[in-house]
């Protein structure tokens, strides 16, 4: 297995609009390696979320090549891409998107169930992950009974449920206050430190500053790349 998890070569993404095509990502070349910690920042509408969606295989480039583990993603059908996301990629969203009718533990169990894990195995894993994010005492609480920070921590636990190699986070602290954002940032650092490659899209300079590699986008292109 190569060290590079996802490799985007000259990818562009254009959206057809009534007023004409809008190019959200323009000719971007980018690789994310095993264990890497990258942040993508930039002004609103610069294409950072679109790039993240392409890296996470939920969107396909209009042009260019995107390879995941060396395989061209464009050759995969929807089912194969779903399987890829389920087992290799974790997603954390700004709005958490926990299922409100399920408890925290059940939310974490859900992707494992979809991946076919046995009931007792996924239950143990859920408890383990909730302990990891410090919410074992909230396992049976519904999302509506959790604070924003807690919901995001549960969402991170859910994203890690199937032991992904790559975790993608789109504005993970966008709806959180500063103190809670700090808790989430620390947790994400820890996830990365434990070996999961992490790509974060954020407006927050503090969060971006924690990454070893910071990509700044403007008008759909990577304007600046800083590696520490």
């Amino acid at each position: 297995m190569s060290d590079v998890i996802v490799d985007a070569a000259n990818v562009s993404r254009a959206f057809e609009m009534p007023a004409g095509a809008v190019v959200a990502v323009r000719d971007v070349t980018l690789s994310i390696a095993q264990g890497e910690h990258a942040a993508i920042s930039g002004p609103s509408g610069c294409g950072k979320s679109t790039l993240l969606h392409m890296l996470g295989c939920v969107d396909t480039p209009s042009s260019g090549t995107l390879c995941f583990d060396g395989s061209d993603v464009s050759t995969l059908d929807d089912r194969a891409r779903s399987r890829l996301r389920l087992r290799q990629i974790g997603f954390v969203f700004q709005r958490f998107y926990l299922l409100p009718m399920l408890s925290a533990a059940e939310n974490v169990e859900l992707p494992q169930a979809e991946a076919g894990a046995a009931k007792d195995v996924r239950r143990l894993r859920s408890i383990e992950l909730l302990e990891y994010v410090g919410l074992e005492h909230r396992a049976n609480h519904r999302p509506s009974q959790l604070s924003g920070g807690e919901m995001q921590r549960v969402a991170i636990a859910r994203a890690l449920a199937n032991r992904p190699r790559l975790l993608l986070a789109d504005e993970p602290t966008g709806e959180l206050d500063q103190a809670t954002s700090e808790q989430v940032a620390v947790l994400l650092d820890r996830v990365n430190a434990d070996g999961t490659a992490l790509v974060i899209v954020t407006h927050d300079p503090d969060l971006a500053g924690r990454a070893r590699r910071v990509l700044t986008m403007k008008d759909g292109q990577i304007e600046q790349e800083v590696t520490r």
């Binding site: 979320s49 969606h53 779903s82 389920l86 997603f91 969203f93 998107y97 992707p111 979809e114 991946a115």
Partner: protein, 394 residues
């Protein structure tokens, strides 16, 4: 957690909406069930009544139903020729006329009087007393006995309203020999039976003994016996129970079959609309969640299945509730329709048949699936990235 469990949790998450959906489906499902019972109810009920009589062939003057067409001018003569056939076991002539049954004190009941002749067969079952054997004897139903306060052995005056009497019929006195139940007794209607000669006298035409129809019992094969009767050249129409049912289905029950078909279509359309709207709104409200699940790796089939299961649960629970509700409604609606004049007490418009449950279940299943198609398409075609982006911007 599988799709069914997720769908169940989704329903439980919004109890008001789901509850109303289920109640709505139960109401339309009950109506649908009733329409299925109505579509065949009259046929089954009539068939059962026909089969309960010890006759399997009716002979009439035309292809009209008994009592609808012209009379058979000389009932006993026609009966005698038919009785001579080897394939015929028994023949009885039957004439039906309207009449007042009156007591000396003025109490009276209006109803129908049957005049039977030739054979020993009777279109009634004796409950108490003895059967009529000669003139001026009469058996009456319990309603007539109750209304006129008459008991066995008492006298009863019959003033008939015969269709083809040339003069006003005389009022004739009869002795009540028994109480009987008549197969085609209507609710709240007096019924009586006597000999055909007695009825002819009561009609003021003692010389003529016409018959509405002849009731024939074959020795076994009703169809061949009916053919034998036709071959006699009496210019009469012999029809078996099957043929009579065919005629009824074609001519008499069309209205109820039609209303049943129309309402079945309407109720299914209504249920479809209800569930489709419910699911579509529900799905539209959680597009973000669905997109997130897709981003997390849930397959298209899996999220589509969630929606289908939701539909199946709403329609399934509503459908199950609709069966007892429909049964209660059927009793209510049957009671309403049975108030139509001249409807036999034993005739039912809504008759339970196991097939109706299966057809109901099949129609509900089709409804559940069809109603889910549009919301399933929404979910299946959901652009993950665009939805996630829109949800944040929105």
């Amino acid at each position: 957690m599988n799709a069914l469990a997720c769908a169940w949790r989704s329903l439980v998450r919004q109890p008001a909406r789901s509850g109303l959906g289920i109640i709505g489906v139960a109401a339309v499902g009950a109506l649908l069930f009733d329409m299925l019972l109505l579509s065949e109810g009259l046929m089954i009920s009539t068939r059962s009544m026909l089969d309960s009589m010890p006759f399997d062939i009716r002979v009439t003057s035309t292809d009209q139903m008994p009592g609808r067409g012209p009379d058979i001018a000389d009932g006993p003569a026609a009966a005698a020729q038919i009785a001579a056939l080897a394939s015929v076991k028994a023949v009885t002539t039957l004439r039906r006329e309207d009449a007042y049954l009156m007591r000396g004190d003025g109490t009276r009941a209006y109803g129908s009087v049957l005049g039977i002749g030739f054979g020993s067969g009777r279109p009634w079952t004796l409950v108490s007393g003895t059967d009529v054997v000669g003139d001026n004897e009469i058996v009456i139903n319990e309603f007539a006995a109750q209304v006129t306060g008459t008991d066995i052995g008492a006298s009863l005056t019959v003033r008939s309203n015969c269709a083809d009497g040339a003069t006003a019929p005389p009022a004739m006195e009869f002795r009540v020999t028994g109480i009987a139940t008549f197969v085609f007794d209507a609710l709240g209607e007096a019924g009586a039976g006597m000999t055909d000669t007695s009825l002819a006298e009561a009609c003021g035409t003692p010389g003529a003994i016409p018959a509405d129809f002849l009731m024939v019992q074959s020795t076994g094969d009703a169809t061949s016996t009916a053919a034998d009767i036709d071959a006699l050249g009496l210019h009469l129409q012999a029809s078996t129970n099957d043929e009579a049912m065919g005629q009824l289905q074609q001519r008499e029950f069309t209205y109820f079959r039609q209303i049943s078909t129309v309402l079945t279509t309407i109720t299914i359309s209504f249920a479809l609309l209800l569930i489709t709207v419910l699911l579509t709104v529900s799905v539209n409200q959680r597009l973000g969640e669905v997109a997130a699940l897709r981003a997390l790796g849930f397959s298209q089939g899996r999220v589509v299945l969630d929606v289908l299961w939701e539909s199946v649960l709403i329609v399934g629970i509503g459908g199950i509730l609709s069966l007892p509700l429909g049964a209660l409604m059927a009793v209510w609606l049957d009671g309403i329709l049975k108030r139509m004049p001249r409807i036999p007490a034993d005739l039912h418009f809504f008759v339970f048949q196991p097939e109706a449950v299966w057809i109901h279940a099949a129609l509900m299943a089709v409804t559940a699936f069809t109603a889910a198609i549009y919301p399933m398409v929404i979910v299946a075609r959901l652009p993950i990235a665009t939805t996630l982006r829109n949800e944040v911007v929105g």
